[in-house]
């Protein structure tokens, strides 16, 4: 039976552990996996531009000894001629062994998976899901902190529209001892459904605040996101709040010595470049983990040697 990855919750905690074990093994012994996907092809079907995610998938497949093919925007695919996602995936299934799909419309990878004869990985569908980003975040936390449990996680910036933040909250509530500090302007606070449907039913403690400085000393992880000017209701409010959500050296002084700073990237100005040299700044390392987890995912979905045996969700 073909397995697909559409949401980070498609994996149980144990299955994610197995996947992360494999990713860590790849990190440690890359040569062991250098030819694991020889003769296999990954199709990257990107209906909207996303350099980072696409290159990460392509780099992952090339490092496994496989090949890549695909398109980087809808304009350069048959979608421009009006071809449906279902038809495209049927054709791609004839050419490739596995595919990663990014689409501006939510649910497009699910539609593809229903007609596909190869595994489909959701590489981001609108504001809906981006499972490999969440897996990247989890792997970064586990690798750099040693575990994903018993931690105070600060999420800062645009918590209302940030897909990565919602997805990470959903994934982290499955681990014991997680405590959230939600740092955002009132206009961009986390949506009520995340609190009512995710945090409260799972009895996960959380606090909300508007000042990053206030939260800094408590945090084990700080997950930064960008506060976009266009999200504010008025210019005055934006000017008042914007500096509060810029991480700089002065704010880092308030943090624990072993706190980690994560960011899904790309960053604009929400993390000052002076923080980059701080040993706690882990966002570029996080991008590296993004490649390892995608390598592990490709191996596992293709059920190739080197992959940790695991029962994937249907």
């Amino acid at each position: 039976m073909i397995k697909h990855v559409l949401s980070p919750l498609d994996f149980s905690v144990q299955e994610l552990e197995d996947l992360m074990d494999l990713a860590n093994d790849i990190e440690k012994y890359p040569d062991k996996y250098a030819h694991a996907c020889a003769g296999k092809q990954l199709a990257t079907l990107f209906y909207e531009p996303s350099t980072r995610t696409r290159l990460s998938f392509e780099s992952a497949m090339l490092s496994l000894g496989g090949n890549v093919l695909g398109f980087a925007s809808a304009d350069s695919s048959s979608a421009a001629k009006g071809e449906s996602v279902s038809d495209t995936i049927r054709v791609i299934s004839c050419y490739a062994d596995i595919c990663a799909m990014r689409h501006p419309k939510e649910g497009a990878p699910l539609v593809a998976s229903m007609k596909s004869s190869i595994p489909v990985i959701n590489a981001g569908d609108g504001g809906h899901q981006h499972p490999t980003q969440t897996m990247t975040d989890l792997l970064s936390i586990r690798s750099l902190k040693g575990s994903i449990s018993n931690m105070t996680v600060g999420l800062c910036g645009d918590l209302k529209f940030g897909r990565t933040v919602h997805s990470l909250i959903n994934a982290l509530v499955r681990y014991p001892g997680i405590n959230f500090v939600l740092i955002s302007p009132p206009e961009l606070r986390v949506p009520d459904y995340i609190i009512d449907d995710v945090l409260k039913p799972n009895n996960v403690p959380y606090t909300e605040c508007t000042e990053l400085e206030e939260a800094m000393p408590k945090l084990d992880i700080l997950y930064m996101t960008r506060v976009q000017k266009e999200r504010f209701f008025n210019e005055e409010e934006y000017l008042r709040m914007k500096d509060s959500y810029i991480l700089d050296r002065a704010k880092m002084e308030l943090a624990k010595k072993d706190m980690l700073v994560l960011h899904p990237l790309p960053r604009v100005n929400e993390i000052s470049v002076e923080v980059d040299d701080d040993p706690r700044a882990a966002y570029f390392k996080q991008a590296q983990y993004g490649k390892y987890i995608r390598m592990a995912l490709i191996l596992t979905l293709l059920r190739l040697s080197g992959a940790v045996p695991m029962e994937l969700p249907s």
Binding site: S84, V85, S86, H103, P104, K105, E106, G107, A108, L110, V111, D125, G126, G127, H128, Y193
Partner: protein
């Protein structure tokens, strides 16, 4: 008191909320069938005060119970054979409904691929929440 004759074989949908029978008539696609249908509006009910009733001639296969369960799972479905009620079916909220309600999320794939069926799943029975299978958007009645 209005009298509607008996029925050799068919279905009686009882305890429909008053005024809702016409909507149900169309949602069940009864307008497309050639069987006899009687619609009784605002009938007296001890339990509900006023209620609507639909009598449909023919077998149970003519009625999609999932649609009925979604619309109002308190409706009673009586199966009639030889002018007698032989079975009372209990409705429940269906786990999945197809092409009964439609996703309004402009970011959903169904907004650009018209041939896709609109499938909703029951996300929370307590709050009667249905979500789109593709984008997970909560269905809002209005």
């Amino acid at each position: 008191m209005l009298n509607v004759g008996g029925m050799e074989e068919g279905i009686v949908l009882d305890h429909i909320r008053a005024g809702k029978s016409l909507k149900i008539y169309y949602l069940l696609g009864l307008d497309k069938l050639d069987c006899e249908v009687a619609m009784i509006k605002n009938a007296h009910s001890n339990k509900m005060g006023r209620k609507d009733i639909l009598k449909i001639e023919g077998g149970l296969d003519r009625v999609n119970l999932d649609v009925l369960g979604y619309l109002d799972h308190k409706i009673t479905v009586n199966i009639i054979k030889n002018n007698q009620i032989v079975e009372k079916k209990k409705l429940s909220m269906p786990k999945k409904i197809t092409n009964v309600i439609f996703c309004k999320n402009p970011r959903c794939i169904t907004s650009i691929e018209q041939e896709l069926p609109h499938v909703f799943y029951l996300a929370d029975e307590k709050t009667k929440t249905y979500r789109c299978m593709y984008c997970d958007e909560k269905y809002k009645k209005n």
